[in-house]
Amino acid sequence: MEEKRINEQESLALITRMISQTKQESAIGSGNVFLVWGYLCTFMSLAVFAITLVTKGGGWGWLYLAIPLLGFAIAAIVARRTSKKYNGPTTYQGKSINAIWGVLSSLFGAYAGICLVSTIFNWGDAHVWSGMFLLGLLLPGIGTYATGVILKEGQVQSCGLTGCIIGLFFLREFCNSSAISPSWCLGMALAMVISLVIPGHILNAKAKQANS
């Protein structure tokens, strides 16, 4: 393109093309964060289930606490690689989605902090940590649903909603029995695949399609 005058029709066509091209490209790489957290939570859940089954011992649920440590480290590496490969613009959609996930992550972190303080000062028992499991089942679904609404992606919304519904069943079960059994790890793995892994692949496939 160069500095030249254009006619009215060309102006209209140019505005339309540029807006639509920018909108399509802004989704590139957005599915990767979903995949990082989704696969990490799924594999960790399956690992905890398998180890508990083999060792027949409890306490392996503490391995879940490795998820945020590993997740933030891997997500940072993936984000850096994506930004090196693709120097995309900052969109309003992207900022809104980041803000939603920021709030949800903060809630999760805040509850972990409360549990840690409770444990240190012997304020309640280790059972309070079970709430992390429930938050882990419910919050990703809410975040995915909100992301789907912002991106106007019906399939992503459905995945988020389904993940939330699975979480609700576990909430009911938790309130009923107040105990978490190893089989819950399988439920967690299923919820993570539906809430994060599938939407991640959907977003990446659509971005790839738009960019081809």
Partner: protein, 97 residues
């Protein structure tokens, strides 16, 4: 009646830049150069013209070889684009009649 089009926007490269910035919060110089398929020198001159008119704001992020020029559309620019599109519509009235 057909309205006069803003001469600053009625140019291929400047209009392309403004259209890109309309849909995003900010975009850097390299991205704008790639998307508009323009030369760095020409794009730089056109960005200066848009910035001088107050349609966009430019800021440099970082320093040295890693410095990035980030461009954002201002409220004045947004209003100018709105007026430009409104004026453009007057050229097409009657097509549906």
């Amino acid at each position: 009646m057909m309205q006069e089009l803003d001469p600053l926007l009625h140019s291929q490269l400047r209009l392309a830049v403004m259209s890109i910035l309309l849909g995003v919060e900010q975009a850097d110089f390299v991205y704008l150069k790639e998307k508009t398929e323009s030369t760095a020198g020409n794009l730089s001159v056109q960005l200066e013209k848009l910035a001088a008119a107050g349609y966009i704001s430019k800021e440099t992020d970082g320093s040295g070889a890693k410095a990035r020029t980030i461009c954002r559309m201002t409220d004045t620019g947004r209003a100018a684009m709105q007026a430009y599109v409104d004026a453009l519509k007057t050229y097409f009235t009657g097509l549906n009649q």
